[in-house]
C-alpha cells in the first residue's frame, strides 16, 4: 500500500473491466507517442501519420471490411485460446492448428466425394477436427507424461508448416498451376460466400462471433466452465474438489485447437481457394491470436474487441506503407512497441487507485 499525493494505491490482482480498458487505452496512447518518435525520425510528422492511419482504416468505409477480414481468424484463434489460458493450458501452437485446419479443408474440397452443398460444412467439420487433434496431441503428452505444452505446441507449429510445404510441393501440387507450389483451385462450391462487394467471408465471421459467445456461456454457465475456472485459478483446489485435470485440459485443448482449425478453413476457403505455402496462409495469426487472448483478459467476449483492435493495427501497417511510403519493417516496430507498452502496463493494471480526501475517507474508486 502506497500513498501518492491524494491517491492511495493498493494491489488488486483481479481488475475490473472498466479499469482494464482505461489502462489499455493509456498504454496504447503511450505506444503512439513512442512510435511517433520513430515516424519523426523517419521524416513523417507523427500527427500526419496518425491522421493518415485513421483515414485509411476506421474512417474509410471501403477499408473497414479489410480490418474485419484480418480480425476474423484472430477472433476465432483468440476466443479459443482464452478458454485454454483460463485452464492454464498454454497452447501457443495455434499457428500449427490453423494450418491443420487449412489442410483438412483442402483435403475435403479437392478429394472428397461430398456433394457440393455439403462441401463447406464438411470442410469446417474436418478443419475443426484436425485442428483439435493437433492440439490434443500436446494435451495428451502433458497429461500422460508431463511434457510441457508450451514447448510441444510450439514445436508442432514447425511440423505443421513443413507438412504443408511438403504437401504443396509434393503429392498435392496442382496440375493447373504451371508447376508452382499450389494445389489446384477448389471447386466453386467450396468457396465461402462473401458479404456484398467486400471480401469478408461472413460464415467464418459468424462462426467467430458465435464462438466467442459460446465460450463465454460455457465458462460462466456450465459445469465444465466452472471446472475450467477452478482448474486455472487453483489446481490444488481443483484436485481436492475431485475435478479431473484430464477432462478440463483435454476439453480446452480440443476447443482452442478446433477454433484455430476453423480459422484455417476460413483462410483457404474464403480467401485463397487453394492450399499454398504456410507463410501465405496464416501470416502469423496463430501468434497474434495469443495477443488477442491475452488482451481479452480471460473473457471470451473480450476477444471480439481485441481481435478488431489487432485487425486495425495490422491494417494501419498497410496504410503506413501505401500512403506514407514507409518500409514494411515500420509495421513491426509499430506493432512491437504497442505490445511492449500493453505488456508493460501490467503493474498499473493490477493496482487499485483510490482517492483519499484529507483524513482518509473514500471519495471515489476507479475500480471495484
Amino acid at each position: 500500500m502506497r500513498r501518492i499525493g491524494p491517491f492511495l494505491v493498493t494491489p488488486n490482482p483481479s481488475p475490473s473491466w472498466g479499469w482494464s480498458t482505461i489502462v489499455s487505452l493509456l498504454a496504447i496512447a503511450g505506444a503512439l507517442v513512442a512510435a511517433g518518435g520513430v515516424f519523426w525520425a523517419y521524416g513523417v510528422a507523427p500527427l500526419v501519420a496518425y491522421r493518415t492511419m485513421a483515414e485509411g482504416t476506421f474512417l474509410d468505409p471501403r477499408a473497414l471490411p479489410e480490418v474485419v477480414r484480418r480480425a476474423i481468424p484472430l477472433l476465432l484463434v483468440g476466443s479459443g485460446l482464452v478458454l485454454a489460458f483460463r485452464a492454464q493450458f498454454w497452447n501457443i501452437g495455434a499457428e500449427g492448428q490453423i494450418l491443420s485446419g487449412a489442410v483438412a479443408a483442402t483435403g475435403v474440397a479437392l478429394f472428397s466425394p461430398l456433394p457440393p452443398a455439403l462441401l463447406i460444412p464438411g470442410m469446417f467439420v474436418a478443419g475443426f477436427a484436425l485442428g483439435a487433434l493437433w492440439a490434443a496431441v500436446p494435451a495428451l503428452l502433458r497429461l500422460r507424461w508431463g511434457a510441457h505444452e508450451v514447448l510441444t505446441t510450439l514445436l508442432l507449429n514447425y511440423v505443421a508448416a513443413y507438412g504443408v510445404e511438403w504437401l504443396v510441393h509434393g503429392p498435392w501440387k496442382g496440375s493447373s498451376m504451371m508447376g508452382f507450389a499450389y494445389t489446384d483451385l477448389f471447386p466453386e462450391a467450396a468457396w465461402l460466400p462473401l458479404l456484398g462487394t467486400t471480401r469478408m467471408h461472413w460464415p467464418t465471421l459468424a462462426l467467430g462471433l458465435g464462438w466467442a459467445i459460446f465460450g463465454s456461456v460455457l465458462l460462466s454457465r456450465t459445469v465444465l466452465g466452472f471446472e475450467i475456472r477452478v482448474q486455472g485459478e487453483n489446481p490444488e483446489a481443483a484436485r481436492y474438489a475431485g475435478i479431473p485435470a484430464t477432462r478440463t485440459v483435454l476439453a480446452v485443448a480440443l476447443l482452442s485447437g478446433g477454433a484455430a482449425g476453423l480459422a484455417g478453413v476460413g483462410e483457404v476457403a474464403g480467401i485463397h481457394h487453394r492450399l499454398l505455402s504456410p507463410g501465405q496462409i496464416s501470416m502469423g495469426y496463430g501468434y497474434a491470436g495469443i495477443l488477442v487472448a491475452w488482451l481479452a483478459r480471460g473473457n471470451p467476449l473480450g476477444a471480439i474487441p481485441s481481435a478488431f483492435l489487432l485487425g486495425l493495427v495490422f491494417t494501419s501497417g498497410d496504410v503506413m506503407q501505401v500512403a506514407l511510403q514507409m518500409p514494411f519493417r515500420v509495421t513491426d516496430v509499430f506493432n512491437g512497441l504497442l505490445l511492449l507498452f500493453l505488456v508493460g502496463s501490467t503493474p498499473l493494471l493490477q493496482m487499485r487507485i483510490r482517492r483519499v480526501s484529507g483524513a482518509g475517507g473514500e471519495a471515489w474508486t476507479s475500480s471495484s
Binding site: G56, D60, R62, A63, E66, R69, E165, H169, G170, K173, M178, G179, F180, A181, Y182, T197, R199, E267, I271, H272, H273, L276, G279, Q280, I281, M283, D318, V319, Q321, V322, A323, Q325, P327, F328, R329
Partner: protein, 385 residues
C-alpha cells in the same frame, strides 16, 4: 504607376496561364512487391526498374508497397487505386488471381502482372526471361569446370527455374559434352543460410563451378571463399567476388516498364485493349543482359582461360569458347534472334525427343516446360516420363 500595376497583373495572369498549360499531365503508377526491396534479388531488381522509370519519364509519379502477402494483394491494389494510381504492376506469380479479381472491380485501371499467364482487357502480362543468358553462362561453365561437375542451387522446382537450368545445361554440354550439372533445391526464393549449405553440399560432391537462383549473393561468396568460379544472378554481384565471378545474368525491368508506361501515356494502351499484351522480352529487347555487372559480359580475369579452350561447333568450325560466347550473344541480340538454345533436336535426360529437329520451342512451351536437359543430375520433382 497604374499602368505598371496593370502590366504586372497581365504578366502574372499570363504567367499562370502558361504555367497551367505547360504543367504536364501526370501519370501515377504503383508497384506491388512480394519481398523487401533490400533482398538484392527479384524485388530489388524490380525496384531499380521502377526508380529508373521514374527518373526517365518526367510525367511519371511512382509509388510502391513491399512484402505484400499473396492473400493481401487485392486489399493493397484497392489502396493504391484510392491513392490515385492509374497503372499497377503486380510482381509475383502468386498475385495472379488477386490481380484478375481486382481488375474486374477496377475496370478503368491498367494492370500488368509479372510472370503469369492470365490476361484480361485491362490486365497485361510481362516477363524478362533469362534462358538465353543462362545458355551463355553454361557455355562458360562447361569450359571452366575441371572436375566435370557444375553445381546449381535452385530456388523452387517450377518451370521458370527448370527452363533456366536446362538452358544452362545445354550450354555446359555444348562446350563440355561429358560434364554434368548437379542441382540442389532450397525451396525458398530467399534464404542465405540454405543457399550456403546447398553450395557446401555441392562442393563436397565435387562441383567446382556454380550458378544459382536465389535472391542473395550467397552462392557467389561461398564459392569465392573456396576459390571457385561462379555466375551472378539478377543483381550486379561483381563486387562480391571480383576475382571469381565469371559472368551472370542481369535484368533491366525498366525497359519493359518504360515501354509500357509510354504506351499508356500516349493512349496506345487503354483499359480495354490489353487482352493480348504480353511482354516476353529477352536479350534482343535489352530487358536482360549478360554479365556480373552492366557493361562487362565476361570478367576479364577469365578471358585467357576461356580463350584457351577450343570447341568444334557445327556451322562455325573450331572456335574458342570466349569467341563462341560473344558470337552467340550477338546472334541472340538481333531481332529476330539468329540463334536460340532451345532449337531441336533436343532430347531430355531420359532420352525422349522433346524438340524435333529444326524447330524452336514456342513461348508457350518454354513457360510450361517440366523436363530436364541431358547432363542434369539430381532430384527433379514432377519430371514428365
Amino acid at each position: 504607376m497604374r499602368r505598371f500595376a496593370w502590366a504586372l497583373v497581365v504578366l502574372l495572369v499570363a504567367g499562370l496561364a502558361v504555367g497551367g498549360v505547360a504543367q504536364p499531365r501526370k501519370l501515377k503508377a504503383g508497384w506491388i512487391y512480394v519481398g523487401p526491396i533490400g533482398d538484392y534479388g527479384w524485388t530489388h531488381a524490380h525496384d531499380v526498374g521502377r526508380r529508373i522509370a521514374g527518373k526517365t519519364l518526367p510525367w511519371l509519379e511512382t509509388t510502391y508497397v513491399e512484402k505484400v502477402p499473396e492473400g493481401q494483394v487485392e486489399a493493397f491494389i484497392d489502396r493504391l487505386v484510392r491513392a490515385g494510381a492509374k497503372v499497377i504492376f503486380t510482381t509475383s506469380f502468386g498475385y495472379m488471381d488477386g490481380t484478375l479479381s481486382a481488375a474486374r472491380r477496377h475496370p478503368d485501371i491498367l494492370f500488368a502482372h509479372c510472370s503469369g499467364f492470365k490476361r484480361a482487357s485491362n490486365v497485361a502480362t510481362y516477363m524478362a526471361d533469362f534462358y538465353q543468358v543462362y545458355y551463355l553462362n553454361g557455355l562458360m561453365a562447361g569450359a571452366l569446370t575441371r572436375t566435370g561437375k557444375v553445381g546449381y542451387v535452385g530456388a523452387f522446382p517450377i518451370p521458370e527455374v527448370k527452363r533456366h537450368i536446362s538452358a544452362f545445361a545445354l550450354g555446359v554440354r555444348a562446350t563440355n559434352p561429358r560434364a554434368t550439372v548437379h542441382v540442389r533445391w532450397i525451396y525458398e526464393w530467399f534464404n542465405p543460410a540454405a543457399a550456403k549449405e546447398a553450395t557446401e553440399a555441392l562442393i563436397a560432391e565435387g562441383a567446382d563451378v556454380f550458378a544459382f537462383t536465389e535472391d542473395s549473393p550467397t552462392v557467389v561468396q561461398v564459392a569465392a571463399q573456396k576459390g571457385l568460379p561462379s555466375f551472378g544472378h539478377y543483381s550486379p554481384m561483381y563486387r562480391f567476388a571480383p576475382q571469381h565471378i565469371v559472368s551472370g545474368q542481369l535484368v533491366h525491368w525498366q525497359k519493359i516498364y518504360i515501354d509500357f508506361l509510354r504506351k499508356v501515356y500516349d493512349g496506345t494502351y487503354t483499359p480495354r485493349n490489353l487482352q493480348n499484351v504480353d511482354y516476353w522480352w529477352l536479350l534482343a529487347e535489352g530487358a536482360v543482359e549478360l554479365g556480373a555487372q552492366p557493361g562487362m559480359p565476361v570478367n576479364p580475369v577469365f578471358r585467357p582461360r576461356l580463350e584457351a579452350v577450343k570447341v568444334r561447333v557445327s556451322g562455325i568450325g573450331t572456335v574458342s569458347v570466349y569467341d563462341l560466347v560473344l558470337r552467340r550473344l550477338r546472334e541472340m541480340s538481333q531481332s529476330p534472334p539468329a540463334f536460340d538454345p532451345f532449337t531441336g533436336p533436343i532430347y531430355d535426360r531420359n532420352g525422349k525427343l522433346r524438340v524435333p529437329a529444326g524447330r524452336r520451342m514456342t513461348v508457350q512451351e518454354l513457360t510450361t516446360m517440366e523436363w530436364a536437359a541431358p547432363g542434369i543430375v539430381g532430384p527433379w520433382p514432377k519430371e514428365p516420363k
